[in-house]
């Protein structure tokens, strides 16, 4: 168990493409850090750099108090779980889990003890003699985790481990991973593009975009105060509504493109072009007031416990999503008046996308 330290880490590929632009990150002992972002944002590359499967172009990665830039993957004392499990298909599950220990010269009894113990933890005891192909996807991923656990490494690295599983199993495995990590208290880095996974698993969330860490913080902090428009749009489902606007002269309102005025309690310069962000769950239907948005229903999606209403707003047909508790039905073309509490309105700079 150890801390994980990234200092100004950069990755430039041989063809000149820069995948990671200087990332600083300190993951404390036992922490569960989740790297989340859209595909191509560099999150997997970063994880593979920590694992030693990609070289580090610049900066420094240390595990514990040892700089590991040039240390071979096997000697970094980390274990990795892959998206496609990467189990050795010709070996039994037992042999799969034992392989790493065998190569490291552990004696048979010790290997057996560790594998059996991991098997018990992961409920694989009866499956140890089978081959990976005789198992379901969830079981295979458990074997892959077993292979990581038996090594008792300083850190676990997860590379989208649940992406190949079906939705229900994904939820179950998510809980299992969280439980396991808390029980073992091993420092973990987890890569995913699924923001629900990211929110539920993370002690600390690193939202990445274009090779840069856009925001690092606890999931709730990131949800409540996204640092950039990108983060605001990426975290939360359905994603945040964005409307262009301009702050009024007296700074008490923001004027949207069709002249609608939304009350503000932000401290922001007058006449500034801004993007207004409101989460679908923070909008409610109200009677028309000075500070309400009039929008037309396009489609309604009923999920039982909640209803998602997709609307268009203003002359530019800007899209708005509304999330309501319970079941509601609206016909396409219905006019609704929406309201959001000023404290739940986020403002972003139009040019830079930074939070104001």
């Amino acid at each position: 168990m150890a801390t994980l330290n990234l200092k100004q880490v950069e990755k430039t590929y041989a063809n000149g493409y820069k995948a990671i632009h200087g990332i600083n990150l300190e993951i404390s002992d036992g922490e569960f850090a989740v790297l989340v972002g859209p595909s191509g944002c560099g999150k997997s590359t970063l994880l593979r750099m920590i694992a030693g499967l990609e070289t580090i172009s610049d900066g420094e990665i240390s595990i514990g108090d040892r700089v590991v830039n040039t240390v071979a993957p096997a000697d970094r004392d980390i274990a990795m779980v892959f998206q496609n499990y990467a189990l050795y298909p010709h070996m039994s599950n037992y042999a799969n889990m034992a392989y790493g220990l065998k190569n490291r010269g552990y004696n048979k009894d010790e290997i057996d003890r560790r594998v059996r113990e991991a098997g018990t933890i992961l409920q694989l005891t009866e499956l140890l003699d089978r081959k990976p192909r005789q198992l379901s996807g969830g079981q295979r991923q458990r074997v892959a985790m077993g292979r990581a656990i038996v090594r008792e490494p300083k850190a676990f690295l997860f590379d989208e481990p649940l992406s190949n599983l079906d939705a229900k199993l994904r939820v179950d495995m998510r809980l299992e991973i969280k439980n396991l990590q808390q029980r073992l208290g091993t420092t973990s880095v987890y890569v995913t593009h699924d923001q629900v996974e990211a929110m539920t698993l993370a002690d600390r969330l690193i939202v990445m975009n274009g090779g840069v860490a856009e925001q690092i913080g606890s999931p709730i902090d990131i949800y409540n105060t996204p640092a950039t428009r990108f983060v605001a749009g990426f975290i939360g489902s359905p994603s945040m509504n964005f409307l262009d606007g301009r702050v009024s002269n007296d700074r008490s309102h923001v004027v949207l493109t069709d002249g609608t005025r939304l009350a503000l309690d932000h401290n922001v310069a007058e006449n500034r072009d801004v993007v207004v962000g409101v989460r679908p769950e923070h909008l409610s239907i109200t009677t028309p007031t000075e500070s309400s948005i009039a929008a037309k229903v396009r489609i309604t999606e009923s999920l039982g416990a909640e209803t998602l209403v997709y609307l268009t707003f203003g002359s530019k047909n800007e899209a708005i999503t509304l999330r309501m508790q319970g079941t509601h039905t609206y016909a396409a073309g219905d006019e609704l008046t929406l309201y959001s509490n000023p404290s739940q309105i986020h403002l972003f700079d139009q040019a830079s996308g930074r939070r104001i």
């Binding site: 694992a51 030693g52 499967l53 071979a72 993957p73 096997a74 980390i78 274990a79 990795m80 892959f82 998206q83 496609n84 990467a86 189990l87 050795y88 298909p89 010709h90 070996m91 392989y99 790493g100 190569n103 490291r104 192909r133 292979r147």
Partner: protein, 284 residues
């Protein structure tokens, strides 16, 4: 598989006819090999086996005088076996290692080297047989098993197939193995070789049959009768058919032919089972 009886009957008739068509020449050769040469000479090819099976086969297997040279068929079968096995095993090992180097190690000229190997596919043995002979002769390897096997052992076909196969192995397996502390050699032995079993069986079958059936190369390499392969032996027997004013040795030639075809058949039958099992096992 719910076919009418009628249809299944038709299918079977066609299959049986096809099999008969394929088997008939072999059967005639076998049946004819069990008669005396005088009988065969007078009555032509035979459909029914005669009573001289043990006599003819025993003689050709163990009696030097039965063939033209001073070598028994048993010795020739042994020579062919050495050539076939050496050829097949050598090619599998060499091409696996070559493909491993090309796919998994980044070294300069890897691609050009691969294409050079690949280009040799375009040159049949006959084209390079004279220089090859020269090299073997200068190394003093004429009339030796080494000289028979070694110059043919590099295989572009094998290298190519193994390369294609290795490229289809997911990179994550290599990465997982690296994290598990397996070096290049361990990865090759523990992961890649077991995964290639199907491929090995397939290449082995093909190469064994090719090696077994080599004709021109052993003919040039060997002047010593003791090193004749069975394929050359057959040729020698046929050569003697019309020499010396004797009654031609048809039964012996047929017997030799039948014996020459048995080992490749066995290899295919045995390894095919492994081949199929390998296919089933690597299925994900």
């Amino acid at each position: 598989m719910y076919q009418s009886k009628w249809r299944s009957l038709t299918n079977h008739v066609i299959l049986i006819l096809g099999s008969l068509f394929m088997i008939m020449p072999v059967w005639i050769a076998f049946a004819s090999s069990t008669h005396t040469r005088e009988f065969l000479f007078q009555n032509g090819l035979q459909f029914l086996p005669g009573g001289h099976f043990f006599e003819n086969y025993g003689k050709i297997l163990f009696d030097q005088s039965a063939t033209k040279g001073r070598v028994t068929a048993l010795q020739m079968l042994f020579n062919s076996m050495v050539l076939g096995l050496g050829f097949a095993i050598g090619k599998v090992i060499i091409s696996m290692m070559a493909a491993y180097a090309i796919v998994y190690f980044r070294f300069r000229l890897a691609m050009p080297l691969f294409w050079v190997i690949f280009a040799t596919l375009l040159l049949p043995l006959e084209v390079r047989i004279v220089p090859s002979y020269e090299v073997v002769a200068k190394l003093g390897l004429l009339n030796s098993y080494t000289g028979l096997i070694l110059p043919l052992i590099a295989s572009a076909t094998g290298t190519f197939f193994f390369r294609q196969f290795y490229r289809s192995v997911p990179d994550e397996l290599l990465e997982a193995a690296r994290l598990d502390g397996a070096g290049p050699w361990r990865f090759f032995i523990d992961i890649l070789v077991p995964l290639s079993v199907t491929m090995i069986a397939a290449i082995f079958i093909i190469m064994f049959v090719v090696g077994w059936n080599q004709y021109l190369w052993p003919l040039l390499m060997t002047t010593d009768d003791q090193l004749y392969t069975i394929v050359i032996g057959i040729k020698q027997v046929y050569n003697s058919l019309y020499e010396g004013g004797q009654i031609p040795q048809f039964p012996k030639a047929f017997a030799l032919t039948i014996m020459a075809s048995i080992p490749p058949v066995l290899v295919v039958v045995i390894f095919q089972r492994m081949f199929v099992r390998g296919l089933v096992e690597t299925e994900k």
